[in-house]
Amino acid sequence: MGIPSGYTSAQVVQAVPTGINSALVLISSTTIGNAVSSVTVSNAFSSTYDAYQIIVSGGVASTDAGLTMHFGSTTTGYYFFQNYSFYNSSTLTIDNRNNQSNFIAAAATTGGLYGNIFVNSPNLAKPTRFDLVRAVPLTNSLGGIVLGFENSNTQHTAFTLTTTTGTVTGGTIRVYGYTNS
């Protein structure tokens, strides 16, 4: 069977085909360069979509670390709740943060980059909500969730990922939009 019109593969939709009312549409795919400390994706958000999924995968970090995220040039007003537990411990840590400059959005390890971030309403004149799974694929590390929002009505078009320490090389940042229909 051939690839249906409107699709470039069996999974990736470049434009929503006629008769399809909902889809996850690939907006951008950014290949991370060599030994960078931050990556900005400029045209990630627009009025076309209200909600987005951002996937960070592949690549490596110079040392085991994390990637923080902020929207546009906004570096204040991030409120979030996070909980996590180390894989080798039964202790669940609950952590609340108010008015931060960013939030940890992805894992950056010497084995790879891992991010799975859902963003709601970044381009609407409303606070931007984010939630993500934080599961670091290292046996001595942790898994958890982060739930929060950026407390302004700024209509963001961009986001930036910054290493908590060290650099990242390679890998891909893919931004998908949920169709509004």
Binding site: T30, G33, V36, V39, S90, S101, T165
Partner: protein, 64 residues
Amino acid sequence: MATYKVQIDDVVRDATPAEVTQIEARQAEVEAQAEAAEARAVARQAVLDRLGLTEQEAQLLLGS
């Protein structure tokens, strides 16, 4: 001053002095958060030690 490379979409370049300041401020904030979390964990353990409770017993009593 340390040097950093930043990437804007597909373009990689050296960070400007202002960008270096921003990167280091963000990294310092994360470091401070990690230290604060560590301090809270140490304080929690000290309380448990005074009470003679294990971590698992504390979770049964307190839920976390």
